[in-house]
Amino acid sequence: MTMLSDTQTRSKESESDFGFWLYLMSDAILFGLIFATFVVMSPNLAGGPGGRDLFDLANLTLQTGLLLASSLTIALAHHTAANGRSIAATVFWMVLTALLGAGFLVLELRELAQFVSAGAGPQRSGYLSAFFTLVGTHGLHVAAGLIWIGTLIVQFMLRPASPAVLSRLARLTLFWHFLDIVWIGVFSLVYLPELI
């Protein structure tokens, strides 16, 4: 009877993984459409400032560095957990990921706030509407990811051996890498052309 239950659990987790991949696919299309809109809107400055006038390479480098580093740390968190190493190590890597992600968000929010106070808010032009929406949508995903990490940290401490929790961590890792890839898209499509 217990064996049957294990198979059932395993098939359930694999269904969840599959479902999550489908969600990511759907989300990738969502981002793709926002990217496409950004490209269409990018000449529409309406007399306002463009990326060249606004973007700050140092800030961008730091932001990107933090996010890439967090992708590494969450991979380590998952690796540690999957190999049954200590809970403490897993939790450590997860906390570090959360801190790096939060750092990324703080830098992003600071930059966007600077734009707004410089009169380059999203209401200024079609270009800035698209820019804020693209970066903001990514930022919202990161924020949601932080809530998810926080929840999982608690669950790891409560139920360290649960296969369900481990499988959630696997999906979170996937999600986090996905956000990283999207950010690389933002980096190379939105920022880079303006900074070169």
Binding site: S42, P43, L45, A46
Partner: protein
């Protein structure tokens, strides 16, 4: 295009007739042959894929040719076209004749036999410009120019209108389309020039206020580039430069 319709209609009638015939012929209370396991046949398959494919191949070729032949952007043969600029407002149409230096509201005159190029834009929501008696419709959008080439071959009066819902006055957003012989067209222009007032920022601001079923009105003078400036005023949709005029 009538052949296209005929071709399809024939097929549709055959399908309807066959469906009804089969439904009656193979009714449970009837005595027709029952073959419960018959579910494939290469011959039938070839026909069911083949006939629609063939019809669509014929229609597709026709679509390619006709779409190019009847492209609304393509200037019509004949004399060099008369240019008429049309601006959609809530809920009326302003027509500008740059060559003649006049403008009109809710009335457009076309010289019979001479091709006309309409250049369309909108000050408000998206409109769709159409004179059904003369041809099809094209959208008019703010900050953008679209085009439609038409020609009136016989004199007469018909109604043109906005086809795209744009708010409260939409139903009554029509205009008179006059197809006039050469001489009458010239008289019409003269009348507009002599009885009309000036189209300028002030009179345009007044005209732009939303109104329904406006009477015909003439403007005897129009600033050069008025149309182009109205497009530029709304961002002048241009995908080549990052620096457009603002407001």
């Amino acid at each position: 295009m009538l052949q296209a319709f005929g071709l399809m209609l024939a097929l549709v009638l055959v399908v309807i007739a066959a469906t009804l015939f089969f439904a009656w012929r193979y009714r449970a209370t009837g005595k027709a042959l029952h073959q419960p396991d018959w579910d494939r046949s290469l011959a039938v398959e070839i026909v069911t894929w083949g006939i629609p494919a063939l019809i669509i191949a014929i229609l597709g070729t026709m679509v390619w040719n006709k779409t190019h032949a009847l492209d609304p952007y393509k200037p019509l043969p004949g004399a060099p076209p008369l240019v008429v600029q049309a601006i959609a407002l809530d809920w009326k149409w302003l027509f500008i004749y740059p060559e003649q230096g006049i403008a009109t509201v809710n009335e457009v005159a076309l010289p019979v036999g001479r091709p006309v190029t309409f250049r369309l834009t909108s000050e408000v929501a998206m409109n769709s410009f159409m004179i059904p008696a003369l041809g099809g419709q094209i959208y008019a959008m703010a900050g953008m120019e679209t085009r439609l080439n038409l020609r009136a071959d016989t004199p007469g009066r018909s109604e043109g209108r906005n086809m795209q819902f744009s708010g409260g006055g939409f139903a009554a957003q029509t205009f008179a389309a006059l197809a006039l012989p050469e001489q009458e067209f010239d008289d019409w222009v003269t009348k507009a020039r002599s009885t009309g007032t000036a189209l300028n920022a002030a009179s345009f601001a007044k005209l732009s206020k939303p109104s329904v079923a406006d009477p015909v009105r003439y403007y005897g003078t129009v600033p050069v580039d008025f149309f182009a400036k109205r497009i530029a005023a709304h961002g002048g949709m241009s995908h080549h430069s990052g620096n457009e005029a603002g407001h």
